[in-house]
Symmetry: D2
């Protein structure tokens, strides 16, 4: 996954509806030139990637994200962020996943909840087959 590599996301483990990953924080991840605090899209990129890996570990093929909500609980201003994802429910159409993002020491930095597509073909998006846009 080129973008995951560009951002530095590493998925280290995935299986049975769970996945784990991390990201080494660097100046490039900062939201400010003056002091280091990771841009909110950095933990998001980790959460979305690890969440997708958790679903894929059950479904066995790419599972596009339908939606994700992330809540920021503390600044990511250390050396590393880690994420653990767990599928809380998987159906024939969609799966719901909980992701927790922590710093290296276990403090929660963010939590995310995502819904991923599990059915309807090996699509590049959640909407590929039989799409009916109404707007």
């Amino acid at each position: 996954m080129p973008f995951a590599r560009h951002v530095g996301v590493e998925v280290t483990d995935a299986g049975d509806g769970e996945a784990t990953g991390h990201l080494e924080l660097d100046d490039v991840h900062s939201s400010s030139p003056d002091r280091f605090v990771a841009h909110g899209a950095v933990p998001y990129a980790l959460a979305d990637t690890v969440g997708g890996a958790a679903v894929m570990s059950i479904v066995g093929r790419p599972t596009p994200t339908i939606d994700m909500r992330i809540d920021y609980l503390a600044p990511a201003n250390g050396a590393r962020i880690e994420a653990h994802a767990e599928v809380v429910r998987a159906g024939d159409s969609v799966a719901a996943v909980d992701v927790t993002v922590t710093d290296g020491g276990g403090e929660q930095l963010a939590t995310a909840r995502g819904v991923y597509k599990t059915g309807g073909g090996d699509g590049e998006t959640a909407w590929e087959s039989a799409e009916r846009a109404t707007d």
Copy 2:
């Protein structure tokens, strides 16, 4: 729908991926015994019901809610709330819907975004067929 009736939700129009409804506010809807301001679950009940009606108008059968987010923008403390829902994308598995809740005069009180199940059988929930709970 017994609960929609219990709360006072009326869906007045549904078709082509859009739906409209309203609710006459009464003392029973208040979140406080001292002054009238509708409980947050009142606009939510209207939004979820009208959103489902919009999806059902395309799909033709019950479409369980997978998730919904509601943002409260102003207090619902007038005589009435109204909602308009619009399907922004409908696929073979899920549909995404935007709902706007206003007072009688057009002021936005809340906006909601929901994802509903469109595929996988005439289920009472989003998870009915081939469900694989992993926790």
Copy 3:
């Protein structure tokens, strides 16, 4: 709280940023006249109320909901739903709360994440003081 009573929500415990409540399900809560499955706004009403009670237990005064997301994991078609809320972070402006809704036997039916206002006066909404609507 008139609406909580109208729906049947009971908050049984609140303190130290946590709260617990339940709701006895009845025909009136159904989303269908034919078979019993609770309308999605029923667990939402419980989650929002219990979530608010958890925040209020820290802040000591009403804390309007700013936004809430709910994910439905299984149908609420039993005799009772229960909810437990926990403040995951409370600041001077807002607090974030996790809510889990279960049936009487501990199965997860829904999870919710809400953000509530904690600062800026004893307001009936999140937006009361110094509000600047831009639309």
Copy 4:
């Protein structure tokens, strides 16, 4: 903003609670090595950045993201994505923002809704002053 530059986000306009930006898509943004479709974190990074710029245009200082939800409506597989953000309500504690992400031709690719902190000091996060973690 180093990370926004790393991803390629450009904010071209911000004022009066609105902001506009774009991002030229490149191989580095892909979620797949085989065919080009942008990783979900790419439109998220654009949406969060442009949403923050819209709030900052009113508040005049950094406004950390409290939470954001993004819904993916179509694959970002063209040459460019664009975003427009609009503050729908700004209070003394928080602001709510709507963001629409489109391709170069106006097709909606994603919508996002975020809540940003507007009060409580020039903090690097939403939780800086008087933070009371309860877990």
